[in-house]
């Protein structure tokens, strides 16, 4: 069940929530919609489900246009950010709801509900009410409920937004496995880069209502199409400079730049992990602070004549040898992305 969205737009009053977005997800893919909060991801998801009416544009599911189809006929499973479980129904009734309203025979319904509960590791919780469950359990009930009527498509709005970091990672892995097992085309919305890149087959980055870039996680990481993308993915340093003989100078640090003519003004985006720092008596930069972030160390420094720069290294990295606040360092930029200065 592939999804094709063409030129989708939506405004709320004067606010343009979604601005001419086109995207496609192939049959069986697990796709992530990634972007800052309030960027329009959820609105797109809701328009695919028919919960929100698009101002213009089309949505195709499995090759057929569904724009004029009511939500209840689209056969889309939707998992809400805050689960939206029916609070007055037991787990069993929640999961069976989609089958009940479609008048599925009682014994068939019971079998399917039990199958879903087993799949979600919820056996034994049939008679519980939502408020008697943990966050992770509610999440799984919401998934079971969405999947029970065998939807053609599964849409998840910030599925792990309301659980803590540890459970989040676990649920993420589990969702990936589940997806592979069930083979249902899925899109999940997230603002967590790690989650998007580690789980999805395809990542679509949405910001300010527009699709910035879409593709496989590796491509998005390594080939940011725009300055926004280069800055958005990972933690980045940004400098303005001018190219001379394939090199742009940032203070006294030489940054290799290809594909720009002499004299062109460029904006350099340098990710915090594409840098090497080393101790150097007359180096072009000074270290200010070192932050120990668990398995990584973040080093804040400043380049004379250019401004602050930061880098991240593994905790025991040899690159950190001899580096301490106040010392002078040399900097090697292993990879910089240059964009024509706007």
């Amino acid at each position: 069940m592939g999804i094709v969205v063409e030129h989708l737009s939506k405004r709320f009053g004067d606010f343009v929530a979604v601005d001419d977005v086109s995207l496609r997800v192939e049959r069986g893919q697990l796709a992530a919609m990634l972007g800052p909060s309030g960027g329009g991801k959820s609105t797109i998801l809701r328009m695919i489900a028919g919960l929100e009416k698009a101002d213009s544009g089309t949505v195709e599911l499995g090759g057929a246009r569904v724009d004029h189809m009511h939500t209840r006929d689209r056969q889309v499973g939707f998992v809400f950010q805050h689960y939206a479980l029916f609070r007055h129904m037991t787990v069993e009734k929640n999961v069976g709801f989609g089958l009940s309203v479609r008048k599925v025979p009682e014994d068939e319904k019971r079998a399917r509900v039990n199958e879903m509960l087993k799949l979600m590791n919820l056996t034994g919780f049939e008679k519980r009410y939502p408020d008697q469950l943990s966050g992770g359990q509610r999440q799984r009930v919401a998934l079971a409920r969405a999947l029970a009527p065998r939807p053609r498509l599964l849409l998840l709005d910030e599925p792990f937004g309301a659980v803590d970091a540890k459970v989040r990672e676990e649920l993420g892995r589990w969702l990936r496995n589940l997806h592979d097992e069930l083979d249902v085309t899925s899109i999940f919305v997230t603002h967590d880069q790690e989650e998007a890149f580690s789980l999805a087959d395809k990542v679509m980055v949405i910001a300010k209502g527009r699709l910035e870039q879409s593709g496989q996680p590796v491509d998005i990481l390594d080939q940011p199409a725009t300055e926004f993308m280069a800055r958005f993915v990972g933690d980045a340093n940004v400098f303005d400079s001018v190219v001379q003989d394939g090199v742009a100078l940032v203070g006294r640090v030489a940054v290799p730049v290809r594909d720009f003519e002499n004299g062109s003004a460029v904006r350099l985006v340098i990710r915090s992990y594409d840098l090497k720092f080393f101790k150097q008596e007359d180096g072009p930069a000074i270290v200010h602070r070192m932050l120990y972030l668990g398995d990584r160390v973040k080093v804040d420094a400043s380049i004379e004549g250019a401004g602050p720069i930061f880098a991240q290294f593994p905790r025991r990295s040899s690159l950190l040898r001899g580096i301490e606040p106040g010392c002078r360092i040399g900097i090697e930029v292993t990879l910089a992305r240059a964009f024509a200065k706007p």
Binding site: T71, F78, A84, L85, R87, H88, R102, R145
Partner: protein, 274 residues
């Protein structure tokens, strides 16, 4: 732990407690106590005779009937108002939301007068209605209108509040699962309103039983016809009919206590299911 230096300057914590208790004693416990003691002194027989005399029975019947009518109509109106105000988006919605609470702020006597201007003998609709032999003022329909006016806010407010708080996502979820509008209302929205409706019913009934000003003006407290429990107590006090006055007061008091306990219990339960 209170810091000793600070607590020596501030009034001790029990001072405030005594203030609150004194206030409640004067305005709540004392009158209830007086009612109880005086009823006891009056004697059970006198009270029973007071309650069962024909005018008292008529007044009680009128009051309970009015409460029942108010409850039924307010449940229907409350559901409709909840769906309109908490779920639909339209211009003037906030205004409508505010209007529903107006009866809480208006004096029932004033409103009674306003209705007389509409339904009275020389009012806007009065002459026209009398052509069909319908009399509103000084008859039972007048009592109904008065009671409905003062009870409008209770159920609707509870339902609107609960629906806004719960939000629309459960209903959206039902729709994605294939439920029709009716199925969504019946299986999701209505059960979510249940607590609000129960609270609304209790408050409406209590308010309907206790209303005095509006039913006095619109019903006229006519002996043998439009007395309600409250207007009959008022008349009985005037006529030094202590048996009826105390007896009916006890009945009303008892109903209120039961209804309030019910509200408390329902609120607590509704809170649990959240």
């Amino acid at each position: 732990m209170p810091n000793p230096a600070a607590s020596s300057k501030r009034p001790p914590p029990w001072a405030l407690r005594i203030l609150v208790l004194t206030y409640l004693t004067i305005f709540l416990f004392a009158p209830l106590l007086a009612l109880g003691v005086e009823s006891f002194r009056e004697g059970a027989l006198s009270l029973w005779q007071g309650i069962t005399e024909p005018e008292s029975l008529l007044a009680l019947r009128n009051s309970f009937l009015l409460a029942a009518i108010a409850v039924v109509l307010n449940v229907l109106f409350g559901i409709a108002a909840g769906l309109v105000i908490a779920r639909q988006r339209f211009w003037g919605r906030a205004l409508l939301d505010g209007l529903i609470e107006v009866p809480l702020a208006l004096s029932p006597v004033m409103v009674g007068l306003a209705f007389i201007l509409i339904f009275g003998r020389t009012g806007w609709l009065g002459p026209w209605l009398s052509q069909f032999g319908v009399r509103v003022i000084f008859s039972f329909p007048g009592l109904i209108i008065a009671t409905l006016f003062v009870t409008v806010p209770f159920t609707a407010r509870e339902v609107i509040h609960v629906l806004s708080e719960i939000g629309e996502e459960e209903e959206m979820a039902a729709t994605t699962l294939g439920a029709s509008r009716w199925q969504t209302f019946w299986h999701v929205t209505l059960p979510n309103m249940r607590g609000a409706l129960s609270c609304g019913i209790s408050l409406t009934a209590a308010r309907a039983l206790g209303e005095f000003g509006a039913v006095l003006i619109m019903g006229g407290a006519i002996t043998g016809s439009t007395h309600t429990a409250t207007t009959w107590i008022f008349t009985a006090v005037d006529e030094r009919n202590n048996g009826a006055a105390l007896g009916l007061s006890l009945v009303l008091g008892l109903c209120s206590v039961v209804l309030l306990l019910l509200v408390e219990k329902l609120r607590a339960r509704a809170h649990e299911r959240r």
